[in-house]
């Protein structure tokens, strides 16, 4: 039994704040809160589901009084263990705080509660001719609060930037229950950019209870290309060629042969099984510039050695080209029961060399590694495919992932482009940062949350093994 300060008195006080039905404390009921989209897990002592800022504030103040460590939880789709409960701790789940509070079409902003689903916001904004640009692969399920915590990315970050470039203001509850507004509706404000540093702080500074995001106008024209390549090298060449033309597409995604096989196993996305890689390129903008850049992109694809180039302009046609990309992660279940996904980033000009090294890691460990990733950003997603029931397979996957992260750093890259450090990569932090660098980060945490009770044990290396041996998983490939 973990030692915990979550006792009956604490639970009763929690119930008094949110109502008994919104405090979960029975072990059987807690099981679904044990994991997120990563491979870590821990049973929380309790989960509380507040409905308002005021309730969140009271809950935080209560936890402060009892010294209970806690983690916020959105939809649990995170890929680095950010929502996993700390030892002896509880989760605040934002499922009930899921209202879109308003869209301001003049300022092009939306105000939302943290439990709002990313895609729901985007679809709502579409009604006003606007969009919410960051689009993580899990956008059908992930919440804005989680996106803030992790500074989530997605394919269209290539042109529009990650979550942080779209957050204007935050209402935040601090560890003692104090409510503060960071940033505001104005695009700039005097003082330190607390909103900026809060985004991506992985729940260690406070919890966001209201979020004001910037919306962008829908583009006049969108055109999507699917380039089919005989091998991954020629696809990488095409990536460099497109950027070399002076084009920054809205999205530039790569899917390798193993991923094509996985996708085609579960649906017909129209990817030829004998292709070495496919490249999805999306162009957006005025019709004049899209028509001009289209010719250059097509030329770049052919020059790099594409066997086939498909083009789609109508929404439905484009959706079909994207289908395989958007469903790739779930499709890996058709190849292996478990997967472990790493999120390293490298300079985009080094992709060919780095992918060669990934393939060497795959051979060394005798473990298939698939690649579906944001090629335009150099944001890799090597996916170790394995069967967790085989003794040692899990450890092998972790070791292979660690080796790939080292390769990323060796090529001038970093550990995570959009998934966060969390539990998963904390011990690798010294590969990219000195002790002094990490101490500076720790100082910021101390300024926001001096008790260290908010999402402890994440981000910073502490010598604790990052992963517990995996329990058996019934359903592989859970990422939405």
């Amino acid at each position: 039994m973990e030692s915990t300060r979550v006792n009956e008195n604490f639970l009763n006080e929690l119930r008094a704040i949110v109502g008994a039905e919104y405090v979960i404390s029975h072990p059987a009921d807690l099981l679904v809160y044990e994991y997120d989209g990563s491979i870590d897990m821990r049973l929380p002592q309790a989960v509380v589901l507040p409905a308002s800022t005021q309730e969140v504030s009271q809950v935080m103040a209560l936890a402060h009084r009892y010294g209970v460590p806690l983690a916020g939880r959105g939809s649990g789709t995170g890929l680095s263990g950010g929502a996993i409960a700390p030892p002896g701790g509880m989760q605040i789940a934002f499922t009930r705080m899921n209202r879109i509070l308003g869209v301001d079409t003049v300022n092009r902003t939306a105000t939302v509660e943290p439990g709002v689903i990313n895609l729901d916001l985007d679809l709502h904004a579409n009604k006003f001719g606007l969009r919410y640009a960051p689009d993580p692969s899990s956008q059908k399920a992930c919440s804005l609060g989680g996106n803030i915590a992790e500074n989530a990315g997605g394919p269209h970050c290539l042109a529009y930037g990650a979550t942080t470039n779209h957050v204007l203001g935050l209402e935040v509850v601090l560890e003692d229950g104090a409510v503060v507004n960071l940033g505001n509706l104005a695009r700039e404000a005097p003082g330190y950019d607390l909103r900026g540093v809060f985004v991506g702080s992985e729940g260690t500074f406070g919890v966001a209870t209201k979020i004001v995001v910037r919306l962008l106008p829908l583009p006049e024209t969108v055109k999507t290309f699917l380039g089919i390549f005989p091998d991954i090298d020629s696809a990488c060449t095409a990536v460099s060629a497109i950027i070399g033309y002076g084009i920054v597409p809205a999205a530039l995604e790569m899917i390798d042969a193993l991923s094509i096989r996985a996708v085609q196993n579960v649906m017909d996305a129209g990817y030829p099984l004998d292709a070495g890689a496919v490249l999805l390129v999306e162009l957006e903008g005025l019709k004049e510039e899209v028509s001009e850049t289209s010719q250059e992109v097509e030329a770049a694809l052919w020059e790099a050695g594409a066997a086939q180039v498909r083009v789609a302009e109508a929404a439905q046609e484009r959706a079909r080209l994207w289908l395989g990309r958007k469903n790739a992660f779930g499709a890996f279940g058709s190849i292996a029961p478990n997967y472990f996904l790493v999120d390293g980033v490298v300079p985009r000009t080094r992709l060919t060399e780095v992918l060669q090294r990934v393939s060497e890691v795959s051979q060394k460990y005798g473990m298939p590694i698939a690649n579906v990733f944001h090629a335009g950003d150099g944001n890799l997603h090597p996916i170790m495919l394995y069967d967790g029931r085989e003794p040692g397979a899990h450890e092998k996957a972790l070791a292979a992932g660690g080796e790939i992260l080292r390769v990323c750093v060796e090529f001038g890259g970093t550990l995570s482009g959009e998934h966060g450090i969390g539990l998963e990569k904390k011990e690798y932090m010294p590969l990219v940062y000195t002790e002094a660098d990490l101490a500076a980060m720790q100082r910021v945490r101390d300024a926001f949350a001096p008790s260290g009770r908010l999402n402890p044990g994440k981000i910073f290396p502490d010598g604790q093994p990052p992963h517990k041996p995996p329990p058996q998983r019934a359903a592989p490939g859970m990422v939405a």
Binding site: V106, N107, R108, T109, E150, N151, G153, C157, G161, T164, V180, N181, L182, N184, L185, A186, R187, E188, A189, P190, G191, Y192, D193, L194, G196, G200, P217, P219, I243, G246, I247, V248, L286, E288, E289, V345, P347, R348, T349, H374, D377, G378, G412, G413, L415, S416, G417, E418, H419, I421, M429, Y433, A436, D437, A440, M441, R443, V444, A447, F448
Partner: protein, 464 residues
């Protein structure tokens, strides 16, 4: 022993600059005891270690283009001039990234990037002098911020020396990165109060092949702002849009007037238009896109009251962009009073209306420059009628007008920063406006990053 002679003994042989140069480093009437120009980040760190040990206050210096920003320093011992660190350390055109030392000028960086067909989509006043470190510390931006955003949107990695002389880095050299906290955001706009920026890595953009501007004269500010905002909401929106006006001219000529009249690179309507009101749209991008945006805008604006449209292309358009960016910061256009008002874009019209009626603008040699799409409004007031100490209550009435403006702007969700004012005012107002929420966190940050409070003490918001 004087500070200047003590310094080389303590700091690895770094010599201080000759005493004759010290007046150059004066800020708000205070002259430092010594000035140093480190050649690299190790030297910068060693100066700061020594300063921390001796509790000497340090003011980081770049091009000195925006030194009027901020409250008066509470102490000022040492000027740390970073212009000796001016190298482009790394430039990967096909990765669209570069790493640069903080002392390089923005114009110098842009020139180097242009050779590789790239650019950093930021403007800042006096780019020939403004350094990268200064642009970041001040969070400076220009008229294209509507499309391209602020320094915070382009900075992906940073090297900083703390108030204890410790060099740290955050972020990296890749365009997408969530490895650890995003300290890039914290340092940007912190006016050097949390650390001295010594190095920066940016993501870049392809150099726009075409550049253009469209000038449209309007009868009223309100009309120009409304039309400009409507234009910014179109698919063919410009990359930036400024509405400018010159107030009542009573004999004296304002720099804005002379900008209109000077004529060099200026378009005839501006030369003619003393006292006029203009919306100026800027366009950057591929030639086909610039052409379409310009043509559609030229059709759109007259339907909303625009008169005397004038198109500028390439060099004249770029010149106008630079003139507007520099306005209020160049020595010939420096105002006696400069305000920067940041509000949600929808409130720009209200702010402009308030300013037009305010004693800050009315009957003064003054100009208003409103970024209608972004929400930044600047009021510049020239002339001699802002006295150090006016007779009667004029100073008081102007200070009251600022207080009243601040209250109104706060209600709109914004803030009024006094960027330039007579020195005497600084003892009576916080130039950054009233502290926002989160001041307590800011205070703790300052205490943790600069425990001796030696970095630009007193100059930041809340006199941090």
């Amino acid at each position: 022993m004087s500070l200047s002679s003590f310094l080389p003994i303590q700091c690895q042989g770094i010599t201080s600059l000759p005493a004759g140069q010290l007046p150059h480093y004066a800020v708000d009437g205070q002259t430092p005891q010594a000035a140093v120009r480190p050649a690299n980040c190790q030297q910068a760190a060693s100066v700061l270690q020594w300063a921390a040990a001796e509790k000497l206050s340090v003011m980081p210096w770049g091009g000195g283009t925006q030194m009027s920003l901020g409250n008066s320093p509470s102490r000022y011992d040492l000027a740390l001039d970073l212009r000796g660190m001016n190298h482009l350390l790394d430039f990967q055109p096909n990765d669209l990234t570069c790493t640069v030392e903080a002392g390089m000028t923005l114009a110098g960086l842009q020139a180097a990037l242009a050779q590789g067909g790239k650019f950093l989509p930021l403007e800042a006043p006096l780019a020939e002098r403004a350094t990268i470190g200064g642009v970041l510390a001040a969070g400076a931006s220009g008229p294209l911020r509507f499309a391209f955003g602020l320094p915070r949107d382009w900075l992906i990695g940073i090297g900083v020396v703390s108030g204890q002389g410790v060099m740290t880095r955050a972020g990296g050299k890749v365009v997408k990165n969530v490895t650890g906290y995003d300290l890039n955001k914290l340092y940007t706009g912190s006016l050097g109060t949390l650390g001295v920026i010594v190095e920066a890595t940016f993501k870049l953009s392809p150099l726009p092949a075409a550049f253009g501007a469209l000038l449209a004269r309007f009868d009223s500010m309100g009309q120009a702002v409304t039309a400009g905002q409507a234009l910014c909401a179109q698919v063919f929106a410009p990359q930036g849009l400024q509405v400018i006006a010159v107030g009542q001219i009573s004999g004296d000529k304002s720099p804005l007037t002379s900008l209109y009249e000077r004529g060099e690179g200026l378009t005839p309507p501006l030369q003619r238009g003393v006292g006029g009101i203009y919306a100026i749209a800027f366009f950057a991008g591929r030639p086909s896109a610039v052409k379409r945006r310009l043509e559609d805008s030229a059709r759109f604006l007259p339907e909303r009251g625009a008169k005397d449209l004038e198109r500028l292309e390439e060099a004249p358009a770029r010149d106008l962009l630079h003139q507007l960016t520099d306005l209020g910061w160049s020595s010939e256009s420096a105002p006696k009073l400069g305000l920067k008002i940041s509000v949600p874009p929808s409130a720009v019209g209200q702010v402009v209306a308030m300013l037009e009626k305010s004693p800050l603008y009315e009957s003064a040699v003054a100009g208003i420059i409103a970024d209608a799409g972004f929400g930044t409004v600047r009021l510049l007031r020239w002339g001699e009628e802002i006295p150090p100490w006016p007779k009667g209550g004029e100073k008081d009435s102007l200070m009251q007008a600022i207080a009243a403006l601040r209250a109104q702007v706060r209600a709109l969700g914004g803030a009024v920063v006094v960027e330039q004012c007579p020195l005497e005012w600084k003892s009576q107002l916080d130039v950054w406006d009233d502290a926002p929420q989160g001041l307590e966190i800011m205070r703790r940050l300052k205490q943790k990053f600069d425990p001796q409070s030696i970095l630009n003490p007193g100059r930041f918001l809340g006199r941090l």
